[in-house]
Symmetry: C2
Subunit: 199 residues, 2 copies
């Protein structure tokens, strides 16, 4: 229905995740009526991210240098490694301000339906990191869904013979949530993981 | 939480309409793992739309030439002008394949709360077009909401002394809808506009 540059832009925007044809059209008209300097900034930010952002060669988090900010931080201990699926999970854990160790980003989770096996994740690189002997505990923080659980179980079996402590984040009721709205698996896990109250 | 180019991109994407912080992050990671050629194409499409897309000097629809495809189409009659608020409304009317006249895009609707008065719309340009004497009917196809109705009423009063037919799109029940879910204003309009069935 549109032609030329406007049609191309609507097409390109429609390829982005979560952007349907209506949103693509809305954004294209927004761009059309935006300040040219704003559009240039957005356009430059897109190409710059591809040119400058790399993966940390230690933990595979996003980084603009060979080693990411967290791996370079000497105040953080090498004794703890938190294993996550994606760089955005690092951000989620960092937001808690509870963790002072290092990370390892797998780049996904085991998912046979999508053809993602252990060899497609950065598991070999995790094993190589452990040879330093500094690591005392591995915290498996993959997603609490089927793929994340399968990945955590696989890693736990691989890590068991190495004699270090392997832990998994607790499953249970979300804080601030309502018991009646919790699904039965979550509520079951919350029962299983119940703790003695020190009063 | 992010740094450098990735943080900039998330910021810029977050300024687009309908894109919240979570979507911006999701799109930024999608860009990061996309083929560089795809990203270059998106980035170029953004700047190209600003460079190439103009407004038709006759009807103010979007166009890459001085006169848009519809105004240049000699098979379309100059006797009918359909007045709409935005270029995307032209696309909506074109999709019906019912209309073979020309358009006039106002660039919005009268909205005193947002400070948009008749002088901010392309009403003067519409009046100038009518001086050719070719126009027989003006179809007011502004949105069926408060602002669109006010704009249609304003235009109808302006156009009345010019002796041409001024019509407004019918309001009524949407085809395929359920009578019980129609709001009372729409249902009232449907009663008002009821027609004799020829059987």
């Amino acid at each position: 229905m549109y032609e030329g540059a406007l049609a191309d832009l609507i097409d390109e925007l429609g390829r982005l995740p979560g952007i349907g044809p209506k949103s693509a059209q809305r954004i294209a008209f927004f761009i059309l009526s935006s300040d040219p300097a704003d559009v240039t900034r957005l356009s430059a930010a897109l190409t710059r991210v591809k040119d400058q952002v790399r993966f940390c060669t230690i933990c595979f988090n996003v980084s603009e240098q060979e080693h990411c900010k967290i791996c370079r931080d000497t105040r953080r201990t090498d004794e703890l490694i938190c294993v996550v699926e994606e760089p955005k999970d690092v951000v989620a854990v960092e937001r808690t301000r509870e963790f002072r160790g290092k990370y390892h980003v797998l780049g996904g989770a085991i998912n046979p339906l999508d053809g993602i096996g252990p060899d497609d994740l950065r598991i070999r690189e995790l094993m190589a990191r452990l040879s330093s002997g500094l690591t005392r505990e591995i915290i498996l923080a993959t997603d609490p869904n089927t793929e994340g659980e399968a990945t955590a179980t696989y890693l736990a079996l691989m890590l068991k013979p190495m004699g270090l402590s392997v832990t998994r984040l607790a499953s249970g009721l979300p804080v601030g949530g309502d018991l009646e709205y919790a699904d039965e698996v979550t509520l079951g896990r919350a029962f299983e993981g119940r703790r003695v109250l020190d009063v």
